[in-house]
């Protein structure tokens, strides 16, 4: 996700947080069956994350949000066509929500400590690791959390209207790790 420049960053010992815009679309399919899932996987060159709370990574990163609902880390334009083709004959809808979200990259050995201040989600590597994702209540707002392969990095997606709040929360929460 590192391609865009950060809108805002924060660094503390053992902790780095960066706020970024991210291309994002939500794909909804009504009652998808195995065939659509397969078609989508083929279209995107990955194993489509049909299981709850999983993530697949190919050219596009795709996260399960709900039954029949996925977040594609891409704007609607580039994925519109493959989606339409794969979902041919199924009721589906693709919303471009690029402007509706903010992505927060949290890295460093303190990242779990930081998350634990904001969410009741268990982020221990034994139960929450790369390939998984979870939506939860974080800092009192809805968030999608995706652990990174590296072990102590996480991506968080929150609604853009809460960006000011989430930023303020991070500044406050990181205070403890300042030195």
């Amino acid at each position: 996700m590192g391609e865009s420049t950060a809108l805002w960053t924060l660094a503390a010992p053992g902790l780095a947080i960066a706020e970024r815009q991210t291309p994002a679309s939500v794909l909804r399919i009504r009652r998808p069956d195995a065939a659509v899932i397969r078609a989508l996987g083929e279209a995107f060159g990955l194993s489509w994350p049909a299981a709850p709370n999983t993530v697949a990574e190919g050219a596009v990163r795709i996260a399960w949000l709900a039954p029949g609902e996925w977040l594609l880390f891409a704007s609607a334009e580039p994925v519109g066509e493959p989606v339409a083709t794969a979902c041919e004959g199924w009721l589906h809808h693709l919303s471009d929500v690029t402007a509706g979200y903010r992505l927060w990259r949290i890295e460093g050995p303190r990242s779990r400590d930081l998350l634990a201040k904001g969410a009741a989600l268990d982020t221990h590597p034994r139960v929450f690791r790369s390939g998984q994702c979870a939506q939860t209540l974080f800092a009192k707002v809805h968030a999608l959390v995706i652990p990174d392969r590296s072990g102590d990095a996480f991506d968080l997606l929150t609604d853009v209207s809460f960006a000011g709040h989430v930023r303020a929360w991070f500044i406050d929460a990181a205070e403890e790790f300042r030195a």
């Binding site: 009504r30 139960v127 009192k140 809460f162």
Partner: protein, 974 residues
């Protein structure tokens, strides 16, 4: 100051002395001391006054159960009140004083209460102060009650909260808890070990013990270190498990930094509340010793026997020089030995049992201590502190013996608080005279003293097993000794014998309570306030209920305990709330063009969770003036309003139209593609819950518009109906509200501004009429425009991707400048719609308003079902005299009638016939305009009503159709 600090030993650092003051006098202690141990070592005997009688009190205990030594530490904003001196870690410069006494603990004016003590039995206030009225007495009683006086300055410190998960949470780091945590951490489990004390070890810190060939405290230190070093284990000291909630959720309070009453340490929190979810819990919280109930048992110098031992061993503080021990069980013998070991004298051991185990008495007799069996203490002497006791021997003869410390033990109570909070039931163990955990209700096991097992080996073994330990547990080198008790619940002798030291409840009060039929323990508690003080009866509850059992001839098991409730020990509000302060308490949403509004000088207010411009006051301009100016700009030129919070939900699918017909009270299926329609949604009770403009983008695609506050709620509402009621409908719901910004141009010059900004389509009235919708580009930005109006003026609601809001804002302002464009806040916007008579949901309606009430009865003529449909034909909703939405105009002046004013026909004597729901000063007309809900209002146009409440009382208004006309009678939007 007597030299009560022992020459050696103790876990204090004699190289690091600390200065502190108590009640204004300077003292010295050492690093490792608590305020209590330092005071004891300094020979301070009176540390506080009791709650009701203001009797002088000394230290009773050494730990969390301390009932007497309540102190205030620090002054000003960081002052803390009602702290137990036994838990206050000493630090340089600490200042402390006793609470609830004046001028000092030694000389307390309130002690006159003690003289009138007879007039103040339990519940005396229920029997008097009724005449002439309670309010004459209440202030005096209130001032007398209460313990500390808290600061009213804002607390300057930080508090944090955090969540945690683990396989095993161990509460208590005594031998049992350490064994459990050690076992589990060796298995690689995620372990949390929490200990309220600054040091791990529990009783090993002061009880002599040998484990695996080391001294108990060494073993504890090593075990704790090993656990802490395990990769997935966490050892938290200074951390109290305060609550055990459902599904193995526990709350811990960690004292992170900043000693009591002193400045917090920079960036670190003072305290942290942990909210832990544990797969399994081991409760190894130990046991608390019970006092004995006998006359004068509250005199300073009377202490729990275990406390006497603990002060000596852990802090090298000897409680007295000449001791008497009074017990009904074996454990106090250890205290006698401890006193002897540390150079004290033991004048006598008084054991109420006629025949305690011979080896106990023999071991003391061997050291020259007199033991009186079947005896008890019937009085204590000394003022203010103990100088002697009267012992009544087995034959009934009284002997006075000099003593400056009386070490008492009435037996032990397993610390079952958390177990009981977890839902587990307690069982009465008659042999050991205690309540112990029975069957667990959650994934929990109690071990060691907390389970009523007082042997060291047993404690370790139980802990080890509970932690899943494989192989042999750590080995205690002495075999467990049997421990026996012969209950003595109260010494039958005259005089005030205290049961609850903190709330001054005596054995006589319990008798009174029984006499008056307050025999249930819960009644006893509430009638006498026993167990309701800051210590929650840690030392008093079991004694009390046993006395009640004796008095009423019931088995103790039947009497039962009062309920154990969180927190185990008091927890600061700060820690419970954590950092959720100010804006972090409840998040606010910001508009995509928030920064632009700031630049434009907006005054922000919260509207439905969003921070939005109320108005944009210029330099020196009042809020009212700004709002008037902005509204005029819309009427005369053009305004720019940020409506981004308006909900936007895509509804697609073959059944989309059918679905919306079921959801909306009016018909959506007949809407033509590209056109917009206003719609109302009801709940099943028929009340209007949201309104908005919906456009049809394609035959099977609608864009549903909701109110700003309704965006999330309505998206969830649609999902709920689809998922739960109509799963067969071929529909998808896609909320996209915040991906879009909505900037609305409104006013006679709106079209000009849009033109000037550049739009790639024809926007003339014919090309792009009212209530239609187009996709286009505005100033090069891809946009969707709706021709809807909330002001009555020509309006273009321009939606663009939220991340382009600022760009569009800038372009429109630039293009609008020559036309007099002004940013418009919510308040002016409201004024404009009020002038037009447009309804604003939530202002003009409440949670019971129906479509017909607001003049939308027409839409109900349909024959088909929709959400709320059936409710509308219930008799009450068909009444003709319901409140109906109308306009009202003042007939007597141009001043607006305040919102909320009630109205009534001048002919009616009483009651309300409605009220003003929206009101403001119309800058166009120069007079007030208002909307109202009026009984049968639509049939009363032209009728005059009286304003009967509020500032406008006595004024007259006329009922009109909603919305006002221009000076010539033409509609304002003409």
């Amino acid at each position: 100051m007597s030299g009560r600090r022992l020459p050696g030993g103790g876990r204090i650092d004699r190289n690091r002395p600390l200065n502190f003051t108590f009640e204004g006098r300077p003292y010295r202690g050492y690093v490792g001391d608590t305020l209590a141990s330092a005071l004891l070592a300094a020979g301070v005997r009176v540390v506080g006054r009791s709650f009701k009688y203001h009797r002088p009190r000394g230290l009773l205990a050494a730990g969390v159960e301390e009932a007497n030594a309540l102190v205030q530490v620090g002054e000003g904003a960081r002052a803390e009140v009602n702290l137990r001196a036994t838990e206050v870690e000493l630090h340089e410069g600490l200042t402390a004083r006793a609470v609830n006494c004046w001028p000092s603990a030694r000389f307390d004016v309130g002690a006159v209460n003690n003289l009138f003590g007879r007039l103040l039995p339990a519940g005396f206030y229920y029997k008097t102060f009724m005449w002439p009225d309670w309010r004459w007495f209440e202030p005096v009683i209130r001032r007398a009650a209460g313990l500390g006086r808290p600061s009213i300055l804002p607390d300057p410190d930080r508090y944090e909260t955090r969540h945690a998960h683990c396989d095993l949470l161990v509460v208590g780091s005594g031998p049992a808890g350490l064994a459990a945590a050690l076992a589990a951490s060796r298995r690689g489990e995620r372990v949390m070990l929490v200990e309220q004390d600054p040091l791990p070890g529990g009783s090993l810190l002061w009880r002599p013990a040998q484990i695996d060939g080391r001294s108990g405290s060494d073993w504890a230190e090593r075990a704790a270190a090993e656990i802490a070093a395990a990769p997935d284990a966490l050892v938290l000291t200074r951390t109290t498990a305060i609550g055990y909630f459902d599904h193995n959720a526990l709350a811990l309070l960690e004292r992170v930094a900043g000693a009591a009453g002193s400045p917090g340490p920079d960036h670190r929190p003072r305290q942290r509340l942990w909210s832990v979810r544990a797969r399994r819990v081991v409760l190894a919280a130990g046991a608390l010793e019970r006092p004995l109930v006998f006359p004068g048992n509250d005199r300073p110098g009377v202490m729990l026997a275990s406390a006497v031992s603990e002060y000596a061993a852990r802090w090298a503080a000897r409680a007295g020089d000449e001791a008497v021990v009074f017990t009904n069980n074996d454990s106090a013998y250890a205290a006698a030995h401890a006193l002897l070991d540390t150079g004290g004298r033991v004048a006598a051991v008084v054991d109420s049992r006629p025949a305690p185990p011979a080896r106990r008495t023999a071991s003391l007799q061997a050291r020259g201590v007199r033991t009186l069996l079947g005896a008890s203490i019937v009085a204590t002497h000394g003022r203010p502190a103990l100088t002697g006791v009267t012992i009544r021997d087995a034959e009934g003869h009284d002997h006075r013996v000099a003593a400056d410390v009386l070490a008492m033990s009435g037996g032990w109570n397993p610390t079952v608080h958390l177990f009981s909070q977890s839902g587990g039931a307690l069982v009465w163990d008659g042999e050991q005279a205690l309540f112990r955990p029975g069957r667990s209700a959650q994934a929990e096991v109690s071990v060691g003293a907390a389970a009523g097992e007082f042997g060291l080996s047993t404690a370790i073994e139980q802990g080890w097993r509970a932690g899943g330990g494989e192989g042999a547990p750590p080995l205690a080198d002495a075999a467990d000794e049997r421990w026996t008790i012969g209950p003595l619940w109260r010494v039958p002798a005259r005089g005030k014998a205290f049961v609850d030291f903190q709330n001054d409840v005596t054995a006589d009060d319990i008798a009174l309570s029984a006499r008056e039929n307050f025999v249930s323990v819960e009644h006893l508690k509430r009638y006498t306030t026993l167990g309701m003080a800051a210590d929650q009866g840690k030392t008093s509850n079991v004694n009390a209920l046993a006395i009640m059992a004796e008095l009423t001839g019931r088995p103790i098991a039947d009497v039962g305990t009062t309920r154990f409730r969180p927190p185990f020990t008091p927890a600061t509000f700060g820690a419970i709330g954590g950092r959720a302060r100010g804006e972090l308490f409840q998040p606010l949403r910001r508009l995509p063009a928030h920064d632009r509004h700031v630049q434009a000088g907006a005054a922000f207010e919260e509207y439905g969770g969003w921070l939005r411009p109320a108005h944009y006051p210029g330099a020196g301009e009042s809020a009212h003036a700004a709002e008037q100016r902005e509204a005029l700009a819309v009427r005369r030129a053009v305004g720019l309003f940020d409506g981004s919070p308006l909900g936007k939900i895509d509804v697609v699918g073959a059944d989309a139209a059918e679905f919306l017909d079921r959801i909306y009270a009016n018909t959506l299926s007949t809407l033509k593609v590209g056109r917009a329609r206003y719609g109302l949604m009801l709940n099943e009770q028929g009340a209007v819950i949201d309104d908005g403009v919906t456009v049809r983008l394609a035959a099977d695609h609608f864009l549903v518009g909701t109110t700003g506050g309704g965006a999330d709620r309505i998206a969830a509402w649609l999902e709920e109906w689809l998922q739960c009621e109509w799963p067969d409908l071929d529909v998808l719901v896609a909320p996209v509200t915040t991906a879009w910004a909505v900037l609305t141009l409104s006013g006679p010059k709106a079209r000009d501004v849009l033109d000037a900004a550049g739009v790639d389509m024809a926007i003339g009235e014919e090309d792009f009429p009212h209530m239609t919708f187009r996709e286009c580009r505005v100033a090069g930005v891809p946009a969707r425009i709706s021709r809807v109006s909330f002001t009555g003026e020509v309006s273009f609601e321009v939606s663009v991707a939220a991340d382009r809001a600022c760009e569009l804002w800038d372009r429109l302002r630039l293009a609008g400048a020559p036309f007099g464009l002004a940013p418009v806040g919510i308040e002016a916007w409201m004024l404009l719609r009020m002038e037009m008579g447009y309804l604003h949901l939530g202002a003009d309606t409440d949670g019971a308003t129906t479509p017909d009430d607001i003049g939308w009865g027409r839409v109900l003529k349909r024959r088909r079902d929709f959400v709320g449909r059936r409710s509308l034909t219930r008799p009450e909703l068909l009444r003709k005299d319901r409140l109906q939405f109308v306009g009202v105009e003042a007939v007597d002046s141009t001043v607006p009638v305040p919102v909320g004013s009630h109205l009534r026909s001048p002919g009616l004597p009483s009651g309300s016939e409605g009220y003003v729901t929206s009101s403001g000063l119309s800058p166009t007309l120069g007079r007030g305009v208002a909307l109202a809900m009026v009984r049968a209002g639509r049939s009363r146009y032209g009728e005059e009503l009286l304003v009967i409440t509020g500032e406008g009382r006595g004024r007259r208004v006329r009922v009109t159709v909603p919305g006002v006309r221009g000076p010539g009678g033409e509609p304002l939007d003409g």
